[in-house]
Symmetry: C2
Subunit: 136 residues, 2 copies
């Protein structure tokens, strides 16, 4: 799990460009640090980035609920951050994580559980959990 | 390279939710289909998604230039789409691609070429090309 001092976190926050999306958000990609599977994309504001780096657990900003959100807070399906990568334009982060349980609120390990193949949405992974047990 | 009929593409476009971001955009993650390395994140409107699926080459929408943009059009650093994955909320796509040259306009294979480690931005990959030769 990563850990940074408050000063280190402030340095990164100052470099990041939160001006491009409404609400001061940046997209964050969560990727399995071992398998390389992309698990989800979510958005974060400054506070969510700060909380993620302070605690080592992925926090995002919920656009539907308008609130900071610790991934897995109620479900236990948390994301432990192992590496933080920054893109060239400083407007997107990539969290390399260890996923507990499932990333997707529908119970799949990854949110990207469907492929668009020959015009159909084909499931390419298995539903691991009852959706009711993953939400939040 | 993937190919879809116009009708198949329309079916997908209708399912996607372009309403969540200003300008009718969705984020698209481009990932190396072989290594699993995440190469970049960009945004697309309906037209860019359509063009991508019609041609098999990644197209995005440039927020700074306000225009549809074929990745690599001027530089030759194109992205051949091999798989299209859709997330649970239908508001994000994952292109599994074959990257010609470099994805990053700064000449790195991936835009995520820096890790935030012990408070410093550390380069974790090699600059393959002169930035001037990759832009566009």
């Amino acid at each position: 799990m990563i850990k940074y001092t408050d000063q280190q976190i402030e340095t990164l926050i100052e470099k990041l460009d939160f001006s491009k999306l409404e609400g001061g958000l940046i997209p964050i990609i969560a990727q399995d640090n071992i398998s390389g599977e992309v698990l989800m994309l979510a958005f974060a504001n400054k506070e969510a980035v700060k909380k993620s780096l302070q605690t080592g657990y992925a926090h995002y900003y919920s656009r539907s609920r308008n609130t900071l959100w610790k991934k897995g807070e109620t479900s236990g399906h948390i994301q432990i951050i192992e590496k933080v990568l920054i893109d060239c334009d400083m407007d997107c982060l990539l969290f390399k994580i260890k996923q507990e349980g499932a990333a997707c609120h529908e119970g799949y390990y990854s949110c990207f559980y469907r492929e668009f193949k020959e015009g159909e949405l084909v499931e390419i992974s298995t539903q691991l959990f009852d959706p009711k047990k993953v939400y939040g």
